[in-house]
Each structure stands twice: as C-alpha cells, then as structure tokens.
Amino acid sequence: MIAYIIRRILYAIPILIGVNVLTFVLFFVVNTPDDMARMHLGMKHVTPEAVEKWKEERGYNKPLLINSEAEGTSVIRDTIFYEKSIGLFTFKFGRSDEGRDIAHDISQRMWPSLAIALPVFLVGLLTNITLSMLLAFFRATYIDIAGVITGVVLMSVSSLFYIISGQYLISKLWHLVPISGFDMGPNAVKFLILPVIIGVIGGIGSGTRWYRTIFLEEINKDYVRTARAKGLSELRVLFRHVLKNAMIPILTGVVVVIPLLFMGSLITESFFGIPGLGSYTIDAIQKQDFSIVRAMVFLGTVLYIMGLILTDISYTLVDPRIRLE
C-alpha cells in the first residue's frame, strides 16, 4: 500500500503543476501586473512611477512565463510564474501582495472555516444517512414517495434562499440566535447554530436522495434476501448488512471532502461574517491578490488529491477484498 501511496503522490505532481499553470494563465488573462498595482495603490493620485515601483518590489516587473532576454535556465527561472510558483511545492506560500504572511493568515483562518464545515459535515452525514435509511425502510410507501418529492424540492432551492430565509425566520423573526458574526472558543456556539442548521437542511435533499439510491441498490441484492430469509429483523438487515455494504459508494463521496473542510464555504462565510478561508479567497480574488489566489488554489488542489488518496485507503478498511497495489 505504501508503494501505491507514493505512486499516487508522484502522480499528483504533474496535476499540481497543471493546476498552477492554469491558475496563472487565467489570472493574468484577466489582470495585468499594472492592473494589480493600480488596485493595490488605490484610486487617487497613482503615478506610473509608483506602479513600476510596486511591480518591481513584488517581482511583477518580470516576463510572465518566458524570459526571452535571459540565457540558460534563467529563461524559465527569471519569470513571474517560476518565482511565484516554486515555493508552493515546498508549501512556502510567501507574502501576499499587501505584504502579509499567507501561511500565518491561513493558519488563523482555517479554524473558523472548520468550525462551520465540520459540524455541517458530521450532522449532515448522520441526518442524511438516517433519513435515507428510513426512506429505504419505507420504500414504495407514501412515506418514501413524500420523502423523494421533498428531497427534490429541497435540492431545487438555492443555498442562498436557505441562508436568507433562515436568517429571517430564526434570527430576525424569532430572535433565537444572532443573525451573523463569529467568536472564538465556547462563545462561538451561538454563532454556529444558524449556519450549521442551514448547512444541514440545505444538504438534506441531495444527500438523502443519493444515499437512498445507494441503500435501495444494496437492499435488492442476494445477501439481503438471505439475511431476511434467515429471519433477521429489518432494522438489523439495514444497519448491520446494508449500511456496511453501502459504505464504499458512501465513502467515495464523503472521504474526499474531509480535507476540503478546511477550505471553507464562500457564500456561508460571507453571509454569516465568518472569517474563514472561503472569504479569504473571495477577498483575494476581488483585490486581485495573485499571491493569495495561487496559494489557495494550490492548497485546495493538494487537499483534494489528499482526499482522493484517503478515499482509496478507506476502501481497504471497509472492504477487505480491496488491496491497493
């Protein structure tokens, strides 16, 4: 298995390079270094000298991808792309274009993101699996039909609607929790209730439908019929056999997102004033801070790849027949 993991890590390198190139190209197609300088220097009284100076200090006065005036390896090395990218592969994110240390910012902002994402993930998973097993249990009854219809309706509603109506009902109308905000430590609980409730409800539709399909597929298999034929109660059939065997497809969707929980949610963080990594990325895009954008995209890619590897490893844990070679 170790050889397999090493191989997967090596496969990740070209992916990371590709993502990095793509981010770089997309960013600089939209923004030139001059645009970035003007954005950072402000709106009034910005002189061309100040723009040049800003670029020089941050290394944006160099050619983008190829330095045709340089010789040898400097053709590649003496470029914005090389200088801004090479540190990423050793997880040295450097400083933002505003001059702040990105690693420090990430280490500060990942915890609020996680504070929202983790409970939403865990409570959501539990809720979705429970509800979908209920639907599977009551399959082909009115409860099942009603559940499926409700699921489709919930899926069709925009997440923004859940947020706005949740804030309106729970906080504005009923005054039960703060409408937005965040705090660290135990005080964070009152701020997390609303986004977590909304996050869980927002995911019920798709989650329940997806897991229901998985359970129904398993329920019709021979081993379930055998279990029933042996006289096992439906509850035991569902929880001891169906759930266990449905773990592989469940893990496919679940484990891969675990590392990404750190990255936060763009909309939720913005509406609830959560100082997480989602809003960090959005702010960086708006402020044309390439250093943060590339760092966050890189980090997201690494975490996603990590999630995929973890998914593969988790298969071996839930299904002894699977061996990673």
Binding site: M39, A50, Q108, P112, I143, Q167, L176, S180, L232, G273
Partner: protein, 753 residues
Amino acid sequence: MHNNKSDGDMLPYQCPELNQLKCRNEVNSKPHGQRWFILVLLLFFAGCDGQSWNNPYPAQERFENTLYSSFSERPNHLDPARSYASNEIEFTGQIYEPPLQYHYLKRPYELIPLTATRMPKPVYIGKNGKRLPANAPVNKIAYTLYDIKIQKGIRFQPHPAFAKNAEGEFLYHQLDEQQLIKIYKLSDFQETDSRELTAADYVYQIKRLAHPKLHSPIFGLMSAYIADLKPYAGKLKKAADKMEGHYLDLNKHNFAGAKVINKYTYRIKIKGKYPQMIYWLTMPFFAPVPWEADRFYSQPGLEEKNITLDWYPVGTGPYMLTVNNPNLQMVLEKNPNFHGEVYPSEGMPGDQESGLLVDAGKSLPFIDKVVYTLEKENIPYWNKFLQGYYDVSGISSDSFDQAVNIGAGGEAELTDEMKEKGIQLKTGLATSMYYFGFNMLDPVVGGKNKSARKLRHAISIALDYEEFISIFLNGRGIAAQGPTAPGIFGYRSGKEGMNPVVYKWVNGKAKRRDIAEAKKLLADAGYPGGVSKKTGKPLLLHYDTTGSGPDSKARFDWMRKQFKKINIQLVVRNTTYNRFQEKMLKGTSQMFMWGWNADYPDPENFLFLLYGPNKKAGLNGENAVNYANKKFDKLFIKMKDMANGPKRQKVIDSMVDIVRKDAPWIWGFNPKSFSLSHKWYGNSKPNFIANNTLKYKKIDPVLRYQKRQAWNKPILWPIILLVLAMIVVIIPAVLIFIRKEHTSGRVGEANKA
C-alpha cells in the same frame, strides 16, 4: 449622562438576580417535562444570562459605553503614510492627530488647530531668499514656509516600542527568536510605555512620505509642492539599496522640505505658493509617527507575524486600536494618554435646538470603546441595526422603502416602523460629484468644434438625471449644475447656480429643457433625426462602463432609453474595472460615468479635474475627459492661489461658465447621504470632510440595553411546533415500523419453518 460607570455598576448587579428569579418562576410554573425542555433551551442558547438570545456581543458588555459599528471591507493600510481610502481613514482618523482639524459643527467647513497651538500662517519667501508680504504676487514667491507649533505635554498611546529597561535601553528593539516565539499579536508584549510628542515626530512622518518601501499615494502629488521631497526619495532609495539591516533610519538623512525648529515647532517648506497645503495638514498623512515605532516594526521577526505599523498604528489621538482582526472585528479603545479636548461650544443656527450643543465644553471622547464588526452582506447588517445591535446605519437601496418615505415635495421622512423604534434620520449633501464624461479626444463627441459641442449639449438635455436620481438613488441626490459640490466655496445654488445649457428657470425652479430643443441641437450638430448628414448612417455612440447583475442591467437599459429619446443608438460596452481603467489611461473610451470625492473643501479640488495639464491620457492625471481649454487653465492657475472671497467667486463663476458651454461633462449628480441612528446615539451631525468625528459622538448604553431587550424577546412557539410536528410524524412511522417488523418477523418464522 456619559459617566455610565455608576449605572453600569448598578444594573448588571441587579439584573442577574431579577433574571434568575424570572427564570426560576417561569420554570416552576411549567409542567415537569416542559420545564426541562425550556431549561435546556435556555442553557443552550444563552446560559440564562438575562440578555437576548440573538445578541451577538458578550453579556458582560451590555452596559458598557461601547459603540457598535461595522465595516464591509477590511482596510488595506493603517500606516498614515499609506492610508487614503475612506474605510482606512475611518480608523486612522481617530488614532493619529495631524496638526489641524475641521470644526465639527460649523459650516462652511472651518479649519481649527488640533495639536497645533494656533493656525499656521504662510510666510512667503522671494527668489532672493527674502521674506515677501502676504499679498505678494504668485510669480515672485519662491517658497512658502509654514511654521507649526504644537502643544506641549501630548503623549503617545502606550506601546511596546517605547518600553525601556532599567538601563534606559529599549526592551523590544532587538528581538531574538526566543522572545518572538511567544509573540503572535501586539498585545503579547508585556511592557508598554509612552513618551511626549515632539515636532520631530511630525518631520519624521513627512520624511516617511518619500520612503521607498511605503509607496505613499500622495508622494507624487506632494513632491510637486514640498521642497526637496523628490530628491529626498532618491537619496532614501540609494540608502535602502545599500542598507544591510531592515531599518532605514530616516533621522540620519537630512531633508530640506521639513525641519525641526525647536522641540515643539517644525517648519514645512513649500515650493512656490500652495494655499491648499493647509487642508492636507488635517489628514493622517501629516500626523506624527515616532521613530521608535518605525524601528520596532521593522524587525523581520515581527513582519513575518504580520505585526507591522500598517496593521498596528501608534498615535496620540483619542482612540487606540486594541484589536485588529479585520477578518472579524476591529476595536478602538480610549487612549489613556489622550491629551484632552473639549466639545465645541459654537455651532450653526439650529444646532442648539437640535441638542448638538448640550455637551459644549465637556471632555472628549465620550465613548469608551468602539467595536467594528465585519459585515459583508447588507441583509444581516440591516437586520442587526433594526435589532439594536448596531447603533448607526446607512441605508442600502434594498432597505430604503422600509426606512424612508419620500414625500410629494421630495422631502425624506422616516416610515412609521422606524419612528416607532425612535430611529433618527440625518441627511446631508455629500461633497462628492458623479458625472457623465465625454472623452474630448474622441472624434465624434470630443473636440472643440461647434458640431461636437452641440452634440454634447443635446445629450446633456436628453440624459434626465432627475429621473436617474429618482429611480436608482431613491431620490438621494440632486442634479448637479456644474463641476463643484454643495458645501464647497464657489458653489452656487438657485437661479444663479443653474446650468442654462440644460435648464430654464420656470416658476422659481430649474426646469430641464424640452427634448425638442435637444433634437434641434442634434440636427444643428449634423445629425438630424439621429442620422449623420455626412454619411447617412444612424449615429451610434459607445458608453464604457463596469457592472454586472440586475441593477446594472436596469441602468444600462435606462441609459439606452435616454439616448433613444433623441434617436441616438447607444452601445453599452460593459467591461471589467481593469479594462475600463486601461481605456481611460489610453484615452480610448468615448463616454463613461465617474465620480470624485473631495479631499478638502476647496474648489480647486474639483476644478482641477478639468485642468488641461492634468489630463489622464498620456499624463496620468485626474482629468479623465482629457479636457483642455486655455482660458479655463489660465483662470484655474489664478483661482487656485486666491483666498476665498468675491474675487475668487468671480473667477470660479467664469470657469464654470466656460465648462458649461464646452460641456465636457454632463454634470450628473451630487449624492445626498442618508444616515440612520438609534435614539441612544447622540451628537450626530453629518460632516463629509472631517475624519476624526468619533470623539464627539455619545451613546446611552442603558437605554440601548432596554430597547434591545424589548425588541429581541425570543419567540419559542416555532420550536415547540417543530417538536410537535416531529412527534406527529415520528409516532405513525414508529407504529408502521413495529407493524412491519412484526410482519417480517412472522415471515422470517414462516420461512424458518
């Protein structure tokens, strides 16, 4: 009223008991199960601390003399040499103290000393180095000197940069790795100290404007006026390139543009005459920075932890920044070393009646602490204001109808809902201007020829800005009549301020000229019926803009409709702000809309937007329409050095006449600011120029607490209903489950058999 300590001490002591009693009584009167349910809920949500469940602030703060406000975008810079944006000066304005400030209540805006002992008087020096009289002609003046004497005994806020050991050595100027391990934020430094403000601190800051690493946004502008600033920047650059450490000691580099005369007096040397310099002395760019702070923050270990002067300011002002987490919250607290200042005892007529002089002569600041919370979205921000969790609020267009009714005469009035809450509305015309520009370099709409001018006049009449203000600004603005804004010297209102190119004076008010006149002008311009006489093709014009979303689409449709009125086809070229700026810099756009906020209350700050040598295309100035008129430019040079008075007014009138005729802008609108505040918020008077007004504001925390409690009583029936609904759903499901289990069991048994 603002010594809330006694109230604050008494009420929190009484209240928990009352609340506990209330809780106990409520609990005892409920059935056993319901009691537990409510108890759990209470513990879960609020810990039974007697405050509303939706209160986002800690319970212990409820009676504190704290103002709660918000910010939507984190400030980029808090270094006074760099901060310029309004969301940055909102903080630096309270922390740093430049030598001068604006009178809080008087209008037109009046300059008064802040840390200076008196208003500095310019001294003019001739080319021979001799002093000239105050009325010397501008061309004879080689330099202007401003000698600024500051008050004695002013001290900086407590800060670790000043902390010294018993031997008198700075404790934290040579930080090693061991010391840095425990440091994550400024408050992690155990020791702080202060020292007296001296003239040298002001000179040091002026030098910082030329610092090669700071990129002060006003360096370019100031190097044209402050003597030696540009060469000094070159010297510093060379020194920085050779430098081995991280600290560029500005004290080692002499600067001719500003020098210390004695401990409390410094001199600024200006090239020629620049009367507007005095206004710059109200901005944080000219506030003092102690060299110790610069030295302290330049240590690499601190920079890596984002502990910089750009993040943690050091000032002498009424407030100091104690929490700087701009991703969540920023907190200003009273500076214990503040030198003291009193509330003004003079104002404008009506100020006395509106209670703005009640606190005359009282010590400032009134508020102990200001908590700014990051609030990016309008919906939570507005609702928190209505719940009493923000003390003041602007009004977004989404919530305008909920807050304000506009009467038939255009007067703004609060809605009943707002009145019931005791909310107050303050309005005022901002010293800003939004204009529709014609690129004067464009071959169709630009240029000085008659045809192009008539075309611009026709469009000026067709573009109905009264309608624009009504539809898109909810009436919050007035159609502008010229290039200056209300509240600025030279601005005229009424008939004499009307733009005759676009309006006629009818029944005591300005009436937009008929569209038929616009059509005639268009025909005279060579486009009868919107068709070019020369080519026979319909006239097609391009409007460059930025914007996305439904609001922008509505604006674009409106704009097309205005041009359609005179049969001109308008192509909206919507692009990103970067591309838009690029077009402006290259002078390749045709028509666009832009705005300007006054830096200071002088007409020069508006009229320079049309000064020829200040063109944007090629010269990178602020004259975005690239307008050039020799007569106007000549008058501008004359006007900018004049003192306010009838002579200056006459020159301004002539300049305004010229640009109205040339019409490089459609004069767009001057926005009206609407601000809401709760009943417990006092001493609020809109001031669009001063940036240090927080010290004058006051709040009544006890009234706020009462209102918050009354407005935010938790409503529990939805939770009870939800639980009942769940029971209603779960019980039949459980019954079905049992029946099914029973059935499957029997089947199982049958199978076994």
